[in-house]
Symmetry: C2
Subunit: 244 residues, 2 copies
Amino acid sequence: MPNKILNISVDCVVFGYDTNTKSLNLLLIKRYLESEATKEILVDDYVLTGYHVYEDETLDDSATRVLKELTGLTDQYKKQFKAFGNPDRLMNKKDLIWSEKEAFNLRTVTVAYYFLLKTEDVDVEANKYKAKWFPIRALPELGFDHQQIIEEAHEDLKIKCLAEPIIFELLPNKFTINDVQDLYESILGIEIDNRNFRRKLINKKYIIPLDEKQVGVSKKPAQLYMFSKDIYQKMYHKNYLISI
Amino acid sequence: MPNKILNISVDCVVFGYDTNTKSLNLLLIKRYLESEATKEILVDDYVLTGYHVYEDETLDDSATRVLKELTGLTDQYKKQFKAFGNPDRLMNKKDLIWSEKEAFNLRTVTVAYYFLLKTEDVDVEANKYKAKWFPIRALPELGFDHQQIIEEAHEDLKIKCLAEPIIFELLPNKFTINDVQDLYESILGIEIDNRNFRRKLINKKYIIPLDEKQVGVSKKPAQLYMFSKDIYQKMYHKNYLISI
DNA sequence: ACTAACAAACGTAATTATGACGTTTATTAA
DNA sequence: TTAATAAACGTCATAATTACGTTTGTTAGT
């Protein structure tokens, strides 16, 4: 039997990072529809994955379900960052392809989440929605109000990655110091002095050097490190600092 | 004509600060109902102010409207911090007093905001909902899931007040250094060294000493200061710092 | 008029963190 | 062998933080 759906949806902003191209990416799905009568192209753009919330699930569960359908992954870092619900949200003609929404005369409110995952963990080809990674600096045309949702997710991520070590959710388990720096630079859109960054990061107790180096590079191979969540949590539990 | 309402509501966590008692307070309204037949007390607790979102207003406008009805105030600092919508949210018998909700078979999702305002700006007596200030360390019994909403608002405020100078939204326009320290201590639940805090705050360009001192105190009267939002915005626009 | 009490306000010294650079090292490709 | 290049290490001046001690200005009580 089908689940009863609500006029409330979740939308998922899925961040991934490609250490090769040093690019912060978003996973988007294709939306395409042309009129059967006139052959007019009604929609041809990309959107975030999202779906209506079932009556018997929490908002968090709903977001987790949507991500699982998209990527097959569970247990990824997830943050609910904002609800969107302007009254004109359903006025857009393009929305008509979502037949479920038509069942309501009410407008839809969407609760937006972002996820952080390792690009390597996702098999994009296996996906039935034609999901595709896009560099955040070169996004395609976006449907609904998803441009705005993405921008606000990015802003929230900027602030959050400076306050908590969530950056490691986007990196492979073994990474180099420069991987971390490149990722910070991708997220924040700034340049960081490598020598100072390196010193600062290596001094963190929760950055563990491994007995391993990069292989298959044509330059001096870099030292590999891992992040210890355990040590972080033991040392930095509620370490508020007044900085303003 | 009545506004059409949605099965989406806003709830407002209203923070105020009393410089005399040095207490961070919340503005709550009384909820009381007894059965006409059995005289059984159905509900007798306090709740956040909230209301359903009208079909033609944004979520932000809805929160602003609720705050205005409660306090008469507009243009207060406002932050949407989380949406709450567990499937059991309408199972609570106590909810039955909200007749509007019964019009829906759907559960309600509430978008929670917090507001920061100066206690002195609110005339509690003038309020038709019997609104009352409660110290956040001594809250009464709370209805619905409002205990949880308040806790999450408080956590968000802790982080936010360390990242941005929103603390001054809670203080009178003219304040002492110790007022600011006391407020930080109330919000964060920590103790701060007065001498170091004082030096740090006075060194901020946006903390302006006035040609005025406290009056009516029975000790050495303290210097009064004001916060210059202008100077802050000119100096601190997008000053990201990697700290982790 | 003097003094105790007390919070406001100022001061200091050691340590740590930061910003802005210069130098050396290990590797591959030519 | 060597040039090229990214990784890794080093230095120094300045700023910020931590952890305290001391002085000042006011009122209230004698």
